[in-house]
């Protein structure tokens, strides 16, 4: 179906090729999963399938890519629109019209499909993806999972034989991700669509893959059966790591398969309570630094946060979880003092941050928003750091540049902030915010776009912050990240706190917030591979 024949892609001005000498065949009806670290050329590989690389992005492509017999060299993306459907990372930015039904029809209009056929296909697609009740809704009103399904539907109406998806579930909460993945697997199983998808959250998709394509850091590509490939890939979800650790053969890909072979392991380590998490820096719970009472945030008639009480201690990492739109962000912003708060009190070391100027509020509570890049506007990393020092008052206790070197060593001073990787940019913004030396650090959805390696580094950074005695709050739906980092988990739903307690207690019991290790080893209260390794050493294997 898709054939790469000795393909090498080099972007203009890049010293090394993004893809090197790729030979690859993806058969009809396969679900191929592209894995690799952030920035290794996953998007380049996906873009090359429909000719966006190099027709749209520039650069040179040596070799030949053919899709359903058409060479992308003389078929630009628009000429492949009836064969390849592409859904980008952010579905909202790819929408052309403004209601669901028109968006589904847009691609067909471009292909000059007759009106009666269009009408029929729109109805079929609405049913296929379970979005029939959304047909008249404006696109911007939809939730993330609904938008993603509409985006898939909008390319599906052209009846493509190949579907290319770039990070379809990265921005979604676990339940919305399930909906999207269910729709994708249905397409593969029932309609025989060939799907190529890239995803950071491997734990969500690896069990559905028929074939894994790994891109190495130098741009070389290998492909094979998932169970074989995942033995050695540089990125792997917890279920695979547990399989590697226990030398299970064949390697189980899903929680279900792993559970069936994990009996002996459970027996081996189940005799004693789960050991505590290994931290890169020791933590010590301090006194309560933030005291919030009866916080209410409302937008018009919608109550985002409905009377929340929260006490946060120094040296403790708290994760706020819950589905998209459950009020996590609103809570964080209102605690910081720059977001709206309609009633309730916040007390940080005896002061309410809303009563202070933004300069002083920031020295009490620092917040890193969902899109950290919003905070950056200068040309180099060094300038951003100097500006941060100036903003932190006349005599900052610590320089932003020193902080940055501690958090993420090796970022060149003269680099443009836009050119940094997601992880580096996050570290830069964190350094900028920490320069004001706040006692409370709030992080809104920090792991978006981070691969497993970058997440590990970021976990170490948070360990450091907590070891310094800071109070850290992370709003996220990245279950595995929370398992690795949080002492305490707060679950929100519809503006209320529905669960609050130590991480193992809250997470192990929850069907959607339990990490893979917990699901495999239930009823034992293990959360991470880290703990399993420690336990195995203790029982003396």
């Amino acid at each position: 179906m898709i054939e790469f024949d000795q393909v090498t892609v080099t972007y203009v001005g890049a010293p090394t090729p993004a893809l090197r000498d790729v030979r690859l065949r993806i058969e009809e009806g396969e679900l191929a999963l592209v894995v690799g670290r952030t920035g290794v050329g996953k998007s380049t590989l996906l873009g090359a399938i429909n000719g966006l690389v190099p027709h749209f992005t520039g650069g040179t492509l040596a070799g030949r890519v053919t899709v359903a017999g058409r060479d992308t060299k003389n078929h630009p993306p628009r000429e492949l629109a009836d064969v390849v459907g592409v859904v980008g990372q952010d579905p909202l930015s790819g929408f052309v019209t403004d209601t669901v039904e028109e968006e589904l029809a847009y691609g067909m209009e471009q292909l000059a499909v007759p009106p009666d056929v269009m009408r029929k296909r729109v109805e079929e697609t609405l049913d296929l993806l379970g979005i029939a009740e959304l047909r008249d809704r404006p696109l911007y009103q939809l939730s993330g999972g609904q938008q993603q399904r509409v985006a898939i539907g909008s390319v599906l109406t052209a009846h493509p034989r190949v579907l290319v998806l770039d990070e379809p579930t990265s921005a979604l909460d676990p339940n919305a991700a399930e909906d999207v993945l269910a729709a994708i697997t249905r397409l593969v199983h029932d309609l025989g669509v060939t799907v190529v998808l890239a995803e950071h959250r491997l734990e969500r998709v690896v069990q559905y893959a028929d074939r894994v394509i790994e891109i190495a850091d130098d741009g070389a590509v290998t492909a094979g059966q998932p169970a074989t490939m995942l033995r050695t890939t540089r990125v792997a979800p917890p279920v695979i790591e547990l399989g590697r650790l226990s030398r299970w053969d064949p390697l189980p890909l899903s929680v279900r398969d792993a559970r069936r072979v994990a009996g002996p392991l459970r027996g081996q380590i189940g005799s004693q309570p789960a050991p505590p998490q290994q931290r890169s820096a020791p933590r010590c719970r301090g006194a309560t630094v933030l005291h919030a009472k009866n916080i209410v945030v409302r937008y018009g008639a919608v109550i985002a946060v409905g009377g929340v009480d929260l006490d946060l201690a120094g040296g403790e990492v708290t994760a706020v979880m819950g589905r998209n739109g459950s009020g996590k962000s609103s809570l964080l912003w209102s605690l910081q003092g720059s977001g709206p708060r309609h009633s309730g009190t916040v007390d940080v070391q005896g002061v309410d941050p809303t009563t202070l100027s933004s300069v002083n509020a920031r020295a009490l509570v620092g917040l890193v928003p969902q899109t950290p890049a919003d905070l950056l506007y200068l040309d180099t990393v060094a300038q951003e750091c100097e500006q941060a020092d100036r903003e932190s008052g006349p005599r900052p206790s610590v320089r932003a540049k020193d902080l940055l070197d501690r958090l993420a060593p090796g970022i060149p001073e003269d680099a443009h902030p836009r050119d940094l990787s997601e992880g580096q940019r996050l570290s830069l913004v964190l350094a900028v915010q920490l320069a004001a030396a706040p006692a409370v650090v709030l992080l809104d959805e920090p792991t978006r776009g981070l691969d497993y390696g970058a997440k590990k580094t970021f976990v170490a950074i948070i360990d450091q912050l907590a070891a310094d005695g800071r109070c850290v709050v992370v709003a996220t739906h990245d279950v595995e990240f929370v398992a690795a980092v949080a002492d305490r988990v707060v679950v929100m739903a519809a503006g209320d706190i529905v669960a609050d307690g130590p991480a193992p207690e809250v997470m192990v019991a929850s069907p959607s917030f339990a990490p893979q290790v917990a699901k495999i080893l239930a009823p034992l209260d293990y959360l991470t591979i880290n703990q399993v390794t420690t336990a195995l050493t203790l029982v003396g294997r």
Partner: protein, 404 residues
Amino acid sequence: MSARPNGWSLAGSRRVPRALHPMAWWIWALGLATAASRTTDPLLLMLVLGVLGVVVANRRSDAPWARAFKYYLYLALTVIAIRVAFRTIFGGDIDVKDMHVLFVLPHVPLPSWASGVQLGGPVTVEGSLGALYDGLRLACLLCCLGAANALANPKRALRALPGALYELGVAVVIALSVAPQLVESVQRVRRARKLRGGSGGGFHVLRSIAIPVMEDALERSLQLAAAMDSRGYGRTAGASPRTRRLTGALMLGGMGGLCLGAYGLLDGSAPGALGLPSLLGGSVLCCLGLALGSRRVGCSHYRPDPWKAPEWIVVACGMVPAAVLTVGLGYSGASLNPSVQPLRWPSLPLVPALAILVAAVAAVAAPPPVRSAPTAGDADGGRLDDRHLARRIQHADPPVGVTA
């Protein structure tokens, strides 16, 4: 369950609701506007406003854009007020013999080079009334536009444009959907800026907001372009340079003819040959150009609006007043512009009044609009808010599925 007519309705609810073709509404409204532009008779103009009101009240849907008419009315009132105020302040009459002076504003003598402008002076009934009539006519034209916007979905109207203007329509639709995103982006960055302390001078603030917003917008437009390209946009386009030049020449010539024709028709003092003939010639050239240009775009349209008998009737209803007031048959031309000097009560000429009333037939001739049945939790994401619930309980609407 059939949607109940909420509000009063002239037509029975047995007809199947559907949206009238947007072009039909636009032609109807432009017809009325043409009629209104020919007269300053306040009675006739009020009649036009009345007709607009009746039709809008009966045939607009409950979509957000359908509420626009109210704002056009406010705008129209403002226009009248400004017109009268300007006349009062700047247009004081010098020669007030035979006129009725209302009051006298202090007169400010202006230098000789500004001799055409008066500042202050006596204000007469005649002058103010003339300004009022004039303002009313302008207000009427505005309301005609407003009615068209409220009755026809602006986006569907763009889709009904001929193929040659396809790209223009796409650009406008994208601009309309990007504008809210840009506002959202500015708000987000401003909020984020507060997190960084938000100190610094004016240029600094501007830069710290403008740069992230622009980067954001640029990134988004690139993503949109990539998405449109992968979905086949521009796939069927393409024309030889010769056709392109011919299309351009036809359109330019046609537009020129249309402008001359409009000038000739609207300005009563222009020679007769300038009006209708150049308008017709221009229209023919434009149609040719559009037809030629449309051949190169090979898109199809999803759920195109049908053009059936109601559309023809509505168009005819709009054209009748335009034709009657332009041609001037069956009444004396002077009665369209009542004299304010000497002061006289405006008369209501019978034939033009009847012609304008014909336009009101559209309120019955057009099919009833599609009104969405009130369902729990649209627009607020599944959350049934209290006011909504209270309203539904008050009206004692039987729940969906219970009615026979």
